[in-house]
């Protein structure tokens, strides 16, 4: 697209798309002092939770804590708007503890919109983006692509000039929704799709591929017989996501659990040919860990029931989300299916379930800053990169926002490695390994999860974020106070003894809690007052986990040795004739930054690494 615009704006950073990635990207850039525009198709859906009404969960909760430690908005917003809090996996060790909350969907979205409206340096605007302003990059720019993005074109000959553009268009690129045989264009029920951006990207040489995902039907709470169902309440003492939130004060609402049964399974089997996933109408790949109910019944035929969580969507609505029966079966089957379930015999469907197919850009086309390799100053984040989940999207948005702003401000890239944060694991997985199904975070993706805990996200990331200029003085000061309290309490533990053992040594035993150490410990806790809970938590974890953490540190050292073997950015693999053709191609495509990075590329064998090592030395 070219020509003379009728209207022209100039910004430092333009973010296209107002989902969970876009809002974090835009607010990060604005917080770093850059003039930022957030362009969205519909200003009413900024920060909308398109699928389940929940934030956090195992591995995801840890990520929200990391986002918060780096100054992001997700943690604070969910603390203000949640209707239920649960710390998951408490039966396991502290590395596995994961916060999760049910959100008041509408309230969450409104709060995010409020933040977009009130953040200094940030402009929220409803615009339909139709294309990009891409030019030849000046010679003096760094080696690499010859293309550079200078801005985006919006409907009505409007040009938004920018030094960096962050694309966070989610599932909206060439989106197609399926409910049974029926197909509707659109990225979310009731919303439209974006055609122009896909074509512009393809024209600029960005590769696109297709994924599918699904969502279940929503029910009317009044029509559900809760007396037959098992309630699932929130925690008695709810724990906040944000390190800045002192206490959760709002009341909580229960979720409920029910199950599918053989009748439901028979119904699905009988109508399988009408499911677009099985009829061949949908060809693209969906996530295995979030399968449709059709998938569950077919792949796990021996299971006689599957769990369903009925989750309220807010305080001002009676709409319930049916977590566990995502489906693209036709409406008549959905109707019979729901009414065959215990407690749902008279349930009214408020919205139908559907599957959606959309374009994504395989993330191996990105540098580890999320800048595209093909076009300078263009960044991708969120579901566009082939991920799924609000938390994954938000983390990427934040990361892209920080890096785009950092580059404009002349800082080096902001990097987190696999041993520092789940965010680092995600970024490395995406740009190194790529995705062959929508990517979701699991703790098992992190080799060093003993270190990557929800309780220490502030200690891991605030100092680094402050040094880079994305975390403010208040957050740093709060961490310093906490650290001082920890140091003081630790001294107390080491000075006091029972017989020959210090309190600290006794605290190492798995079953012993701080207050059980002695009367003076109980008093100490009382005197320390509000906010001492997190101090005790950290001390208990440190005492009980210390040996394991040290054991893990030796593994981390090994990992860092490989990471510190750099490979020059434009290393010519075609020069190495001993490399297998496949390895040459893969390494050229992925351009790993270090030998460790190269070793994680799928299909690269230890032999390939040896060859590269030989040629590096």
């Amino acid at each position: 697209m070219a020509g003379t615009p009728r209207l022209c704006f100039e910004f430092d950073v333009v973010v296209v798309g107002g989902g969970h990635a876009g809002v974090e990207a835009a607010s990060a850039s604005a917080r770093m002092g850059l003039k930022t525009a957030l362009l969205t198709m519909n200003a009413d859906t900024v920060g909308l939770m398109s699928c389940n009404p929940a934030i956090g969960g195992i591995a995801k909760g840890q990520m929200v804590r990391e986002i918060d430690a780096l100054g992001g908005i997700m943690g604070k917003t969910i603390d203000q708007t949640a209707i239920q809090f649960r710390m998951l996996n408490l039966g396991k060790g502290p590395a596995m503890h994961s916060p999760r909350a049910q959100a008041d969907k509408k309230l969450y979205q409104q709060q995010i919109k409020w933040l977009m409206e009130t953040t200094p340096n940030l402009v929220l605007r409803q615009e339909i983006v139709e294309g990009f302003q891409i030019e030849e990059a000046p010679r003096e720019n760094e080696v690499g692509s010859r293309q550079i993005i200078r801005g985006v074109w919006a409907q009505g000959d409007t040009l938004y000039k920018a030094k960096a553009v962050i694309l966070t268009t989610g599932t909206f690129l060439k989106a197609l929704m399926h409910t049974g045989e029926a197909k509707t264009a659109g990225g979310r029920a009731g919303d439209s799709t974006t055609e122009g951006i896909s074509d512009s990207l393809a024209r600029e040489g960005i590769q696109l591929a297709r994924f599918k995902t699904g969502t279940p039907c929503r029910l009317l709470g009044e029509s559900i017989d809760f007396s037959k169902l098992e309630p699932q309440p929130g925690d008695a003492v709810p724990r906040p996501f944000s390190f800045a939130t002192e206490r959760i004060t709002q009341s909580q609402i229960d979720c409920h659990i029910t199950f599918t049964n053989e009748k439901v399974h028979d119904l699905i089997r009988k109508n399988l040919h009408r499911s677009p996933m099985y009829s061949g109408q949908i060809q693209s790949r969906g996530p295995r860990y979030c399968p449709s109910i059709e998938d569950k019944v077919v792949r796990f035929a021996d299971k006689d029931r599957h769990q369903i969580f009925l989750e309220p969507e807010g305080r001002q609505t009676r709409e319930y989300y049916c977590n566990g029966i995502s489906t693209s079966l036709p409406k008549d089957v959905q109707w019979d299916l729901v009414r065959s379930i215990v407690g749902l015999e008279n349930a009214e469907i408020l919205r139908w379930g559907y599957a959606v197919e959309y374009d994504f850009a395989p993330p191996t086309q990105l540098f580890s800053t999320f800048e595209t390799k093909a076009i300078q100053a263009l960044y991708f984040a969120g579901q566009l990169n082939g991920t799924t989940g609000y938390e994954e999207a938000a983390g990427q948005g934040l990361y892209a926002g920080i890096n785009a702003a950092g580059k404009i401000l002349g800082k080096g890239s902001f990097h987190l490695d696999r041993s520092e944060a789940y965010l680092g694991v995600m970024v490395d997985d995406l740009v190194t390994r790529g995705v062959d199904e929508p990517y979701r975070m699991f703790t098992s993706r992190a080799e060093y999860r003993i270190a990557l805990r929800q309780d220490n996200a502030d200690q891991r990331l605030i100092p680094k974020g402050f040094a880079y200029g994305i975390v403010d003085q208040t957050a740093l000061a709060r961490l310093e106070i906490k650290n001082r309290k920890i140091a003081k309490a630790k001294a107390f533990l080491q000075e006091n003894r029972v017989d020959n053992l210090t309190y600290w040594q006794i605290l190492k035993r798995p079953e012993i809690r701080f207050r059980e150490l002695g009367e003076n410990a109980e008093e100490y806790e009382k005197e320390a007052g509000e906010g001492f809970g997190e101090v005790i938590e950290q001390l208990e974890i440190e005492a009980k986990y210390q040996g394991y953490v040290q054991r893990q540190n030796s593994e981390i050292e090994r990992f860092q040795k490989m990471e510190s073997q750099p490979i020059p950015e434009f290393f010519d693999y075609h020069r190495i004739r001993q490399l297998r053709a496949e390895a040459r191609e893969k390494l050229t495509q992925y351009r790993p930054k270090s030998l460790g990075h190269a070793s994680r590329i799928p299909g690269i064998t230890p032999a390939d690494i040896t060859v590269v090592l030989i040629h590096l030395t």
Binding site: G93, R288, Y289, K296, K303, S444, R580, P606, A607
Partner: protein, 455 residues
């Protein structure tokens, strides 16, 4: 480990005798590297030239005759040609099969070297095969071990390693570990699901069984390891240089019977075991004297025996008397990769020494201690440069065993699963390095195929 010092020459044409250096009905000379087919065509005349000769496009078995400078007449010979992209190393390669006459083989190799090839280093073909991706690391190392094997027992072990003797049980163990890990990981990441994961009792039992398997594997390997032969040190030099007297001083066991494992050759050397200063034992070998002008048939035969014996030594002690005459010249054709220690013998008779690394006198005992410590030093350096693959496997198995042992103890003590899993990952890494595979790719696959996951 395969060393990187050969890397500069991955495209060179290399040549080596692929069969034992002994008279036989059939011997094989192997060539590899771009241009080796052209090089062979200068010596070889095919009965029926294949299409495009000498640039064959497909694998070919070609019969023909060989003509070598310095050799009168034509020798029947057949050659197996592999064009680029095929065969063991994926490089242009050839195997030349002809009658196993040592002088003939020598001449052929010399002509090929004169034409631009260079003698292959030990294990160099395997290195190329490994680098081309056609064999994995443990296979490559096993091949190297075979090419270096000095004793039938060692050879058998290396063969077993190549055939999977070590790989199969290790891979099997790795697979079982991976399944268990997938189950445990599913229990960590999908705690909210309606699925029963690994029970503590089953976990302890499985880990106990893994531990038993790995201990067993290690014991089997250790037993084989102790059968490894002693390092061999050959005394070589001109006749009457005092080798035999020196030999008798060096051995601590009485002279052994004349032994040989090569049939059809003169049994013409002595072996004896002796101790070095640090307590290490070595096999000393006394060889027939080498001279510029062999006298008579018998002399030629015994000299040939010496020449075929020397490549089997780990270290050659060149025993040179006062007049170093033939000395330098004699040692020149020594197989290149075997270190040589130059020693001046008969030191009591010759006060004017020449440049040597040690002076010894068997009569006065002068320098014997020094010689032993020099030998010990050189053997040690050499051993470190070639860490045997088995030792590496042992180290990895040991690492895996340690990790499984810790995991087992943690399971018994009911420690957190996420900690135990850390040890299983260490064990998997170690086994994976040994068999040349990484686990990260298949872990989630296993989780998702075994469990119905997801809300």
């Amino acid at each position: 480990m395969l060393s990187s010092r050969t890397s500069h020459a991955l495209e060179d044409i290399i040549v080596a005798l692929a069969t034992p250096a002994e008279p036989s009905e059939r011997a094989v000379i192997r060539l590899g590297g771009t241009g080796c087919h052209c090089l062979i065509s200068t010596l070889f005349r095919p009965q029926i030239a294949p299409q495009g000769w000498p640039n064959v496009a497909k694998r070919h078995w070609v019969e023909g005759t060989l003509s070598v400078p310095g050799l009168f007449g034509w020798v029947p010979c057949s050659i197996h040609f592999w064009p680029h992209g095929t065969g063991y190393t994926r490089q242009e390669a050839a195997e030349l099969h002809c009658v196993g006459s040592l002088p003939l083989l020598d001449l052929v190799i010399q002509s090929l070297v004169a034409g631009g090839a260079r003698p292959a280093q030990p294990g160099e073909f395997s290195l190329r095969a490994f680098l081309s991706g056609s064999i994995d690391l443990s296979q490559a190392e096993a091949v190297v071990a075979i090419s270096k094997a000095k004793q039938p027992a060692e050879l058998a072990l290396a063969m077993e390693q190549l055939a999977g003797g070590i790989r199969h049980p290790a891979e099997e163990l790795r697979r079982e570990l991976l399944d268990l890990l997938a189950d445990l990981e599913a229990g960590l990441d999908f705690a909210e699901e309606d699925i029963s994961f690994v029970e503590s009792k089953r976990l302890i039992l499985s880990l106990g069984s893994f531990l038993a398997q790995i201990i067993n594997l290690r014991r089997r390997m250790r037993e084989k390891d102790t059968q490894a032969p002693l390092p061999r040190v050959a005394l070589a030099g001109p006749p009457n240089a005092g080798k035999s007297t020196l030999f008798n001083l060096l051995i601590s066991s009485p002279s052994q019977a004349i032994v040989s494992d090569i049939p059809g050759t003169t049994r013409d050397w002595l072996e004896g075991i002796g101790s070095l200063p640090c307590g290490t034992k070595v096999t000393w070998m006394d060889t027939a004297g080498l001279s510029d002008s062999p006298m008579g048939e018998l002399d030629i035969v015994s000299q040939n025996a010496t020449w075929s014996l020397l490549p089997k030594a780990d270290l050659i002690v060149a025993c040179l008397p006062w007049n170093g005459i033939a000395s330098a010249k004699l040692l020149k054709p020594m197989p290149g990769e075997i270190p040589v220690l130059v020693v001046q013998t008969l030191a009591d008779l010759n006060q004017d020494g020449f440049t040597s690394e040690a002076r010894v006198s068997s009569h006065t005992g002068e320098g014997i201690g020094l010689l032993k410590s020099k030998v010990s030093e050189m053997l040690k350096v050499n051993a470190e440069a070639n860490i045997p693959p088995l030792a590496r496997c042992q180290a990895q198995l040991e690492q895996a065993e340690g990790a499984i042992r810790r995991a087992h103890r943690q399971a018994v003590e009911d420690d957190p699963i996420e900690v135990l899993v850390l040890e299983l990952r260490v064990a998997l890494d170690a086994l994976g390095e040994m068999t040349g595979v990484l686990y990260t790719d298949d872990l989630l696959d296993r989780v998702f195929t075994r469990f119905c996951i997801g809300k």
